[in-house]
């Protein structure tokens, strides 16, 4: 693309900067950054002011997001951007712009909403921590980076914020950096993400090299016009970009960082690992979904893939991750780790949905999941806080009576995650299953149902063991309800967990993804304006609540059946259980599940040492061959020669004279010749 044209476009857009409504998005993006900067520079010493700055910024961002949502999300306003020149070098033109459309406004709401609640919650949870303001700096920075991903209108900008999310999550996970395990977990998370980013960056470069632009809108347009634009690297580019998502969304085989990341404070886990960072991968896949609609093509070396498309591979990886993580979750005892694996599993679900060609379903599930998973994490945090940082569920028990608000909201979240109709989780899960079934992936559909059962099982296990029964430790016995700053966010989050699906969210997303291409699912093809939504919401409640059963009964009934089976097994095994009966029943398989199928051990035993070995070899080479043989060799041989010549320097005057005379004789001889 012509650089000068782009540059002109930039300069042309500049004067209009403050006059366009979509530029509100810039404020949304920058508010958390301003908060972080303000805390760093001005109020670093005051806990109260730090929290106020941060929360005020995020809440304002949430309100603005809502305004933006009403303006652009609801209704059919086109996606609009206001570019700002960042880097122009030769044919590479990168302008920072924002995309404001249905997808990003919805995600803005999710991110700012959850972030605001988590921050309020943190005021209670982090009370008394000596680095309280630093925590809010980290949260604000993180929110800023995440909003950048959401709003990015091109690949480079997305990558930029992608990395920033990585580093701010590193800051948060390693918040208690004096704890060795936390510092290690932060490092691991960052490096695992880096592996994904490696692929992501290469994917971006391939796409740019072929299409000449990194802008999503232009790319989408070009790829729509020429589906073979990316040439033989089309599928490779798609997979490489997916590698980025693999890192952030913790998909197999880069999933190992997420459970370790639970070393961070619990609000961080809620923010990062439920609603935002891990969702970024899925969001990115949805944002660049046009990339996967091009013709499948493999370079000659990978021709054996044949007609298997990048999406098929993505779907497979998603399903595998979901299954693996669900299995691991069944045998965990740490309350946060159970939730972590559950997150992994649900992310696998979303990625599977994308792979099945249902980005709308993936986004739907992402949105609902953000709500109830944040709720679950915050609830877990409340429990941990109450039990004096005890995280083993087998040392809890009987918390139902001691912490009624936490229990109730936690139970609601569990039900939503398990997919109990008519809670939100049911509808989004149903959408995912439907996407698998509709697009001809019966195996994935079957796996999805199985995972749904397993989800119910391990979540119920958690609830039964931790909240019901009787207290198994002193800490659990003396637990008390958490302060209002912590319980109110739980209550607020319970609302969307229950009711989010009662607004026509699925249709909203379907509309976003598929109207352009003319094939529309379901009944939501009509343009929905906000006013109509409000009035329709009540009228349609009945219709919406039972829509899945009417519209596509198979996934709905199977999903509900899975729920019942999972719940039945869980209740049988864990009602009033004092010890976990599963290890006895499953033997070594349970041990495998508990030890996460030894992935960390395998990586630590094979890949990391392998890379270290290369480094060791290079270092050895540098020390002994370059530094030793070449450098010291040159210097050594010079020195040896010097030593040899030193023998001549006897210090005896007459020897010198002798040589002198010999030299003179030689010169005279030559001169006389």
């Amino acid at each position: 693309m012509d650089v000068h044209a782009a540059h002109n476009a930039v300069t042309a857009a500049a004067p209009a900067f403050s006059s366009r409504p979509e530029d509100i998005a810039w404020f949304i993006l920058l508010l958390p950054l301003l908060a972080a900067a303000g805390i760093t520079l001005i109020v670093r010493r005051s806990n109260f002011l730090a929290a106020t700055f941060s929360i005020a910024a995020t809440v304002t961002a949430f309100v603005l997001s809502f305004v933006l949502f009403l303006m652009f999300g609801v209704g059919d306003a086109a996606a609009v951007t206001s570019p700002f020149a960042w880097l122009h070098a030769g044919e590479l033109a990168v302008n920072l712009g924002v995309t404001v459309d249905k997808l990003s406004t919805l995600m803005l709401l999710v991110v700012t909403g959850v972030s605001a609640l988590v921050q309020v919650y943190s005021v209670g949870y982090m009370h008394g921590d000596r680095s309280f303001p630093r925590f809010f700096i980290g949260l604000s920075l993180f929110t800023f980076s995440m909003l950048g991903i959401v709003l990015a209108d091109n690949f480079v900008m997305m990558f930029l914020f992608w990395e920033l999310v990585g580093v701010s999550s590193w800051l948060l996970i390693g918040f208690w950096y004096e704890k060795e395990s936390a510092a290690d977990a932060a490092k691991k998370a960052f490096l695992t993400n880096r592996l994904g980013d490696f692929g992501f960056l290469l994917g971006i470069i391939i796409i740019w090299a072929a299409a000449g632009t990194v802008n999503f809108a232009e790319l989408s347009q070009k790829l729509g016009a020429h589906p073979d634009l990316l040439g033989s690297l089309a599928s490779v580019a798609g997979l490489l970009v997916f590698m980025g998502a693999m890192g952030k969304s913790a998909q197999f085989p880069l999933h190992v960082w997420l459970p370790d990341a639970m070393e961070g404070p619990t609000p961080v886990s809620a923010l990062i690992h439920a609603a935002t960072m891990v969702a970024a991968g899925v969001y990115m896949l949805c944002r660049v979904f046009f990339l996967y609609q091009v013709e499948t093509a493999w370079p000659a070396a990978l021709a054996f893939f044949g007609s298997i498309s990048a999406l098929d591979i993505i779907g497979g990886i998603g399903a595998f991750t979901a299954l693996l993580a669900a299995l691991m979750a069944i045998q965990q005892n740490d309350i946060k780790r159970i939730l972590a694996y559950s997150t992994l599993s649900q992310l696998g679900y979303m990625v599977m949905a994308v792979g099945c060609g249902g980005p709308d379903a993936a986004m739907y599930h992402l949105t609902t999941h953000a709500g109830f998973k944040a709720l679950l994490f915050l609830g877990a945090g409340s429990v941990i806080h109450a039990c004096h940082h005890e995280q083993d569920i087998w040392k809890m028990g009987g918390l139902r009576k001691l912490m009624p608000k936490t229990f109730l909201t936690f139970a609601l979240g569990t039900a939503a995650l398990a997919g109990l109709p008519p809670l939100s989780g049911f509808y989004s899960k149903d959408a995912v299953l439907l996407a698998a079934l509709d697009n001809g992936h019966p195996v994935l559909f079957g796996l999805g149902v199985l995972i749904a059962a397993m989800t119910t099982f391990y979540m119920l296990r958690l609830v039964l063991v931790a909240f019901l029964g009787s207290g198994r430790s002193e800490a659990a016995g003396h637990a008390h309800e958490s302060p209002g700053a912590m319980t109110w966010p739980l209550v607020i989050l319970a609302v969307p967990s229950v009711m989010l699906a009662w607004v026509p969210l699925g249709d909203y997303l379907t509309h976003h993804f598929f109207t352009d291409h003319g094939h529309v699912h379901g009944h939501g093809s009509e343009v929905i304006s906000f006013g109509a939504t409000i009035s329709a919401a009540f009228g349609l409640v009945n219709h919406i609540l039972f829509e899945p059963f009417n519209h596509a009964p198979l996934p709905a009934f199977l999903g509900t059946g899975a729920l019942i089976i999972g719940a039945w097994i869980a209740v049988t095994l864990y009602w009033n259980a004092e010890r976990d009966p599963l290890p006895k029943l499953l033997g070594s398989f349970a041990r495998g599940m508990r030890n996460r199928f030894y992935f960390d051990e395998i990586y630590e035993a094979i890949f990391i040492p392998l890379h270290d070995l290369v480094a060791r070899l290079a270092d050895w080479f540098d020390r002994w061959v370059v530094g030793g043989l070449a450098v010291r060799g040159a210097h050594g041989s010079t020195e040896l020669l010097g030593r040899a010549l030193r023998i001549v320097q006897s210090g005896n005057l007459q020897t010198y004279t002798f040589f002198f005379v010999a030299g003179v004789a030689l010169v005279v001889l030559i001169a006389l010749k």
Binding site: Q654, F658, V661, A665, V668, L672
Partner: protein, 167 residues
Amino acid sequence: MPALTDLLFYGFAGLALLFGFLCVANPLSRNPVTSAMFLVLTICSLAGLFVLLNAFFLAAVQVLVYAGAVMVLFLFVIMLLDLKEEERRKLNKVALGAGTVAVAVIAGILIRAVTSAKPAADKLVEGTTKPLGRILFTEYLLPFEILSLLLLVAMVGVILLSKKELK
């Protein structure tokens, strides 16, 4: 029948070489005093050769400066240092041999070079004081003055070096 001057030349030349040899490699005595004495004799013989070459002024200077001043200095130093040790030291045969060889080579080369050169025109020049003084104070005035400076520097240097404490 060779002229008297010719005989004188062979006489002085032979004496100079003989005394020179005895000065540096006296087989009977390795006493530096002996060497110094033979050096005086060599210089005197050379002065004779200078006279044969019509360099009367230089011959006088040679005797005055060398045989007089320089040799007195040498003798003073020899007395001052009381060098008895020389006698006890063993002669380094290897060094002597190598030295002799080197010297022989140099001598050979020089003599060959000298004899192979074309003889110069046999003109006469009087090296008396008057023409020498004239040229010295006209053409070579600057070097002459510099030389005086050199002597001054040497004097200062010697005084400094001979002070008891060298710092």
